[in-house]
Symmetry: D2
Subunit: 418 residues, 4 copies
C-alpha cells in the first residue's frame, strides 16, 4: 500500500497522464462509439472520475456530488450502483460536453487532494480504494489508446494521432528465434507479493507443468504474411470451428487495420497509415487467428500457467516491469534483444480460458463486480503492450478478452512440448 505522499503523487501523475493521452484529440473524437467494444474517450474521462466519486469520496465528510445525473451516465457496469446508460448507447451522448467533463475531473481531483490532506483519509480502506481507482484508471488509459486507434483508424481520412519520433523509426532487424526449455514440475502460480494486484491474481496455488519449450520472441508480421500467403484464411483445417465461422462471416483476410494498397500491405497505426514492417511483432490478431497460426506452424500457444512459469524463469535476473517507453509507446517496439525485455511488446493470447483460481473469492459489494463476473467465454492474455502503463505490467497479471476481439495490441508467442 502506498503511503500518503506517494499516494498524492501517484494520483496526480496518473490523472494527468490520462489527459495527456487525450491531447491530440479534437472535441468530436471524444464522442463516438463505432462498435460496442470501443467506448468514447469522453466516457473514459467521465467514468474514471466517477469511480473516485462513487467509491472514495463518500468517505470524505461533506463531499457534495458534482451532478446527480453523472452516476447514470458514467456507471460502466456496476449493477449494484443503480441504473446506467446501456453500453451501446454511450456513443450517442453528446452532453455533457467535453469541457463539462474536464470540469468534473477538476472538481473531483480537487476534492480527492483535499481529502488526502485531511486526517480522515488516512485509513487502509481509503488508501486501498484510491490505489484501486488508479489501477482502474491505468486500465482505462490502455483502452483510451486502443479505442482512439479504432475511432481514427476507421475514418477514411486515417488521421495521425501522434507523429513518429526518431526512435520509433529505427529499422527493425528480424530477431533470431530461440526456443527455451522449461522443466516439468510444480509451479506456484498467482501473486504473492506485497504490492497491488487484482483479486483474480490472488489465491497462490500449485500447478503441475509438463516440460515444454517456448519461443523467446513474438511472431512477426513477416511470418504472419507467410501464413496469409499460404492460404491461411481460406483453409478451414487450421481453424477452430467458431473461428472458421468468424472468418467467413466477417470476410476476415488479415489482422485488423491492415489494408492492401497498390499490392502493398499497409496498416493503420497511431502514426497514420504505414507500410508493414516484416520484422515487427504482428499485433491486432484475434485468439482465433493466433491459434490458427500456431496450428499452421505446427506449434501451439502456451497456457497461462506455462506463460507465468516461463516469465518468472526468464526474467529472474530482473523482475518483469514492462518496457513501456514513453517516446515510443504508441507503436509495437522492436523485437526484444534479451531476456530483460522478454515480455511486454504485445498482449499474448494464451490457450487458457479465464476462470477462477482455486480459493478465489470475489470482493463484497460493487467492487466485487470488478473481475469475477467476467469469468466465462473469455481467454486469458498475458504480458502487456506498448499501450500498457509501465507500472501496470506484472508477471501475474491476467488480462482477458473474447476470442474474436482484436482492437487491443494482441500478439502471438509459440510453444511446443519438449
Amino acid at each position: 500500500m502506498l503511503v500518503s505522499t506517494q499516494l498524492k503523487d501517484a494520483f496526480l501523475s496518473v490523472r494527468q497522464q490520462t489527459m495527456r493521452l487525450c491531447e491530440p484529440l479534437q472535441p468530436e473524437d471524444y464522442v463516438v462509439q463505432p462498435i460496442a467494444d470501443v467506448s468514447p474517450p469522453k466516457w473514459h474521462l467521465g467514468h474514471t472520475t466517477w469511480f473516485f466519486e462513487t467509491f472514495v469520496l463518500p468517505h470524505s465528510p461533506g463531499y457534495r456530488v458534482f451532478s446527480p445525473e453523472y452516476n447514470y451516465l458514467f456507471n460502466s457496469y456496476y449493477e449494484s450502483v443503480g441504473a446506467r446508460v446501456v453500453r451501446t448507447d454511450r456513443g450517442n451522448m453528446t452532453r455533457p460536453a467535453v469541457k463539462d467533463i474536464y470540469a468534473y475531473r477538476a472538481y473531483v481531483d480537487e476534492a480527492i487532494m483535499a481529502f488526502l490532506e485531511s486526517d480522515t483519509s488516512d485509513t487502509k480502506e481509503v488508501r486501498n480504494l484510491i490505489e484501486l481507482g488508479l489501477q482502474h484508471e491505468q486500465q482505462h488509459q490502455e483502452l483510451l489508446v486502443t479505442d482512439m486507434q479504432y475511432i481514427l483508424g476507421n475514418n477514411p481520412l486515417f488521421p495521425v494521432y501522434a507523429p513518429k519520433s526518431n526512435q520509433a523509426t529505427i529499422p527493425f532487424a528480424v530477431a533470431k528465434e530461440n526456443y527455451v526449455d522449461i522443466k516439468s514440475g510444480l509451479y506456484s502460480i498467482g501473486y504473492d507479493g506485497t504490492g497491488f494486484c487484482f483479486d483474480n491474481e490472488r489465491g497462490v496455488h500449485q500447478v503441475y507443468l509438463h516440460p515444454f519449450r517456448v519461443s523467446d520472441r513474438l511472431v512477426t508480421n513477416g511470418e504472419y504474411l507467410e501464413f496469409m500467403e499460404d492460404g491461411g484464411y481460406t483453409l478451414f483445417v487450421h481453424w477452430l470451428q467458431e473461428g472458421w465461422e468468424w472468418v467467413k462471416q466477417g470476410a476476415i483476410r488479415s489482422p485488423l487495420y491492415w489494408h492492401k494498397i497498390n499490392d502493398q500491405w499497409c496498416h493503420y497505426t497511431l502514426h497514420g497509415l504505414e507500410k508493414i514492417t516484416p520484422a515487427a511483432p504482428v499485433t491486432h490478431v484475434s485468439f482465433y487467428e493466433a491459434e490458427a497460426f500456431a496450428r499452421w506452424k505446427g506449434k501451439r500457444l502456451l497456457t497461462e500457467f506455462e506463460w507465468e512459469a516461463a516469465c518468472m524463469q526468464l526474467n529472474a535476473a530482473k523482475p518483469l516491469t514492462g518496457n513501456f517507453v514513453e517516446a515510443n509507446h504508441l507503436h509495437p517496439r522492436p523485437c526484444p534483444q534479451g531476456a530483460n525485455q522478454f515480455f511486454g511488446d504485445a498482449w499474448e493470447w494464451t490457450n487458457s480460458a479465464y476462470l477462477p483460481y482455486p480459493y478465489y473469492q470475489k470482493a463484497e459489494g460493487a467492487l466485487g463486480e470488478y473481475n469475477g463476473k467476467f469469468m466465462i467465454n473469455q481467454m486469458v492474455l498475458r504480458g502487456g503492450s506498448c499501450a500498457t502503463p509501465q507500472s501496470h505490467i506484472r508477471a501475474t497479471y491476467r488480462n482477458f478478452f473474447h476470442p474474436d476481439k482484436r482492437w487491443q495490441f494482441t500478439g502471438i508467442r509459440l510453444a511446443q512440448y519438449s
Copy 2:
C-alpha cells in the same frame, strides 16, 4: 427561375440560415447518429455543400475541388456519383472536424459567389442547379432541426436547444373544429406554376374525387390523450396489422418525446422538457398512430389528392405560402385561426402511398435519383411544419416517409365522406 441578383441573395440567405440553425450546438452535438434516420449535423453541413461542389461547380472553369475525400464522405445516396460512407456509419466519422467543414462551406460559398459574378454562370442549366441546391439545402434545414431534436431529446440531460420566446408562450386556446365540404368532381393535381417544384409534383393530371368533408384544424394533444386513455395503444382493433406489430415490438405507448413524469405527461421540445399543452396540435406521431387514431374516432385520413383539392379551395383567397415565423419556428404554433393559416402547422399524414404521378419521368443522371427511386413503401405527407422554411411550403409539395417514422413534426387531420 431566379435572376442573377436574386440568386446571389437567395444563395447567401439560405446558406447563412443553415449555419444560424447550428449556433446553439456544441461541437460534440455535430457528430452522432443515434438512429439510422438521424444524420449528424456535421454531415448535413458537409452534404449540402458537397451538392453545390458536385453539381454546380464543375460548370465553373478552373474550380479546384476542396478535398477529393469529401465526395466519399458527403455523398448521401447518389449511386451514380461513386462510393460513399454507408448511411449507418455516418455517426462514427469524427473527422473532418466541425471547423474543417465550416472551412469547406466557406470555400465553396466563395467559389459559387465568384462563379455567379462571372458570365459563365448565366445559363439556364446553372441557375436551375443552384436553385435545386437551395431547395435541397432547405430540405436539409428541416432535417437539421428534427435531427438535432432527436439527438438532444434522447440525452438524459434533456438540453435546451433554444429558450422559449415570449411569443411562443402565448397560451393555446382550443380551436373549435369545423368540417368543411368539398364537392365531388374532377380536380387538377400537381404543380402547374412557373416557380420551382420538384419533379415528383409535375405531371399535372386529373383526379376524380367523391364528395368529402375535412376538418379545419389538426388533432390536438388533448384529443390524442383521450385516445391513449381509452386504451388506444392496447386494442389491436384500431390498428393496421403492421402497425400493431410496431406497437408491440417497440412497446409504444405515446407519441415520440412524450414522458410521463410524476403522473403528468410532458414532452421534449427544442425548448427542453415541458408539460403537454392540450390545445396544441399533436405531433411526432407515425402514420400507424395517425391511422389508428382516425379509426378510433370514426373518421379517416385524407388522400393526398383530397388534401390538395381542399387546400386549394380553402386557401384560394391567399395562396398557401406557409406560416413559418422565425421567432417561433421551433415549436408547434397555436392552432390556426383562419383559412389563410389552414395548413403548415405540422406535416399531415395522408392515406396515399408515395407513387409516381401519370407521365412522371425521373431526371437523367444523378439528379434523377432525387425522388423517383424512393417511390415504394412510403406514405405521402402534405403541408409543412414549424421546421419547414416558409418559402419551401406549397400546396403541391409531396413529402414522404415510411409509416413508422415520427421524428419529423408529423400530425393528424381528420376527414369523412359526405
Copy 3:
C-alpha cells in the same frame, strides 16, 4: 348467394379439391415452414377447417368442438379469436399428425353437411359465412400449391410434385406482342355484381384515367433473359432504392427457382427441374424485379385501375372467368392467343399500393380482420394464375403482397402512355 343444394355441392367440391391437391405429398412434406411466408400444408388443412368450425358451426345447435386446442393451433391471425401459435412456429408443430387433421376435416365436414340438411342453417348469415369459408379455402388452395412448390423446390433432390401431362408439353410459340389503346375517361371501379366478392372490392367508385396503351400478353422468359444478360441485376439505375438493397442483400440474380446448370438456365416447377421455355411468361418475380424490368424496357406497370379498365374492355365479349385448366394447372400456360384468355396466366404486379377504396368499411368482429388490416406496405396484383381456382378469378379481384415476395406465380405486363 348460393341456394342450399348448390351450397352443399360447392362445399363438397371445394373441400375435396383441397385434399386432391395434397395427394402427391409424403407425410413429411406436410410439416415444414422453410420461410415465414410458407405455411406447412398440414396447417392449411387445419386452418381452413378451423375457419368453418369457428365461424359457421357455432350457429349449429349442439355442435361440439373437435378439440379445444385446435383453436390455438390453427388460428392464423385473428386477434379477436384468442391466442395462437406464432406464425414462424407453425413449422415446428409435428402434432397433431396429418391423419389427425384429416380426421378433423372429416368431423367438421360431416357436421357442416348435417347442419346444411337442417332448417337452422337456412339463413342469409349462415349461407354467407359458408360461402366466405369456401372462398377462403380457395385462397388457401392457391397458397397450398405455391407453398408446396417452395418446400419441394428448396430440397436438393428437387422432387416432382406432378408428372407433366401431354398437354403441358405442347411447345410454346412466342406470341407477337400488341399494344392496345385504352381511352381516357371516367371508369367505374369495384365490384357491382350480385355474386360473391371480398369487402376490399366493394365501394364502386369513379376513377379518371388518362389514355394509355397496354400489352396484350405477359413478358416472357426470353425477354426477361435479355434483361439479365444486359446486366439488369447489376445496374442500380433500373431499380427503386429498396429494390436495389433487396438485390444486394439477397444476392438476387434471377427469378426465384431459376438455377444455372451447365450454362443452361433451368427452373424448378411442380414437374421438377426443367429448362427455361423462352416463350412462356416469366413468373416468380418480385414487384421490384417487375418494376425494374419495365423501366429497363422504357415502359411501366399499370395501375390497378388501368388494369381493371383494360380487362373489362378486352374481355367484354366473354366475361373474365380465368382459364384454370385442371390437366395443366401446375405450370404457366402458353401465352394467350386471344382476348378471352387475356388474363389469368400469372398474377400481374401493378404499381398501385394496397389501400382502401372510397367508402370502404371493414366488417365487424373477427371477419373484419380479413382484408382491411393489411392495407399498408403491400402492392396490388391483378389477374390470377395457373394455381388460382377458376371460380376464384374475377376482374375486380385485388390480390396483394409485399414488393419483395415472389413465391407466388407473379408476372409482368407492360404499359405506356398514349
Copy 4:
C-alpha cells in the same frame, strides 16, 4: 479393440437400438428442427448411416454408394468431406422421406455385415473405424432422445413419448447429502485403458489438486426451487455477467421444460407433463444456472480434474460403468444410494472450459474434425445421464456444451474447498 464376432454383435445391437428409440414417433416428428441445436430425428438416422458409408465402406471392395446426394444431405460438419446442408436448414428437408432413410439404413447395414464376413475387413483400421462409428451412433442416440424431448415438449399438446413404467413411479426419498473429502496431490488425468476412448481423453497427464470436498449426490428439484423462491433469477449478484444477460434476454425463470400450472410447478418429461418431484435431481439447467445456484448456496462447481479424481476414488470398488437402466432410461432416476451409483444420473456441469489436454493431437483428415475443432467457448460436463447408453459412460469421458445450453439432461453437483 473388438474382435470380429463381437463387432458384428455390437454393430447389430447399436444399430437396432437407434431404431427402437424412434418407435414412438409419427413420421411428422422425424422432420423438424425447432431450434438450431436440435436436429430432426430423420437426420440423425441418415447421418449415423452416412458415417459408416463414408468412412468404413470405401474399404469394402465394390461397394456402391446408395445415393450420391446423401453425402450432401447427411454430412453434419465435416468440412473435409464436401458441401453440406447448412445446419439450420436441416429441418426443411422433407425428402428423402423417413421410409427412404430406413431403406438407406438397411442397405448400409447389409453392406457392413457382408463386409465383416469378408477377409478384407479384418484390419485394425477397419475395426477401429467401425468402433468409432458405433460410439458416434451412441452419441447420436442420446441426442435423439433429447431432441425428441425438445420437439414434443415444445408442442402445445405435450405428447407422451413413452408411458411411465411401474419402476419409474417408485417415489423418490430425499437422500441425505454428504460431503466427501478428496486429498491434495498429483492426480493422473485422462484415459489409460485398452478399450475405446475419444481422442480428447488421451494424453494422460498429471494435475495437482488442492484438497476439496464434494457432495455425494446431485442438487434436487426441491433445493433448486428454494433458489427460485429466494429470487435467484432476479438478483444479478448470483450471476456471471453473460449469464445475467441470458436470463434477461430469454426471460428465464426456471429450468427448461418447467411450467407453472395452477400454482404448481410441472415439467415436461418423455412421459408427458408431470408434477415436479422435489427429491429428484434437477435437470435441464444451463451452466449459468448451475454456477449461479452454487454461488447462491455458498458452494462452487468442481473442475473437470477434481471430478475425475473424485469419481476414481469413490467408484474404486466398482469401476464406473454408468447405471443406464432400460426400463427407466427416459427419466432422471432416483437419487443414488451408494458409491456405486455415484455418477451417471445427469451430466454435471464443471467449471472447466473445454480445452486440449497436454500433448493432444487431433487425428488426420476428416476424423480429426471430431473433437478438436470445438475446443473454444464450451464448458466440460462429466458423468452421463439417463439418456446415455450404459456402455458409453466412463470416468474420463469429456462431454461439452456452450454455457447456455440446457436441452440435455444437465444437472448440478456442489463442492467446496477443505
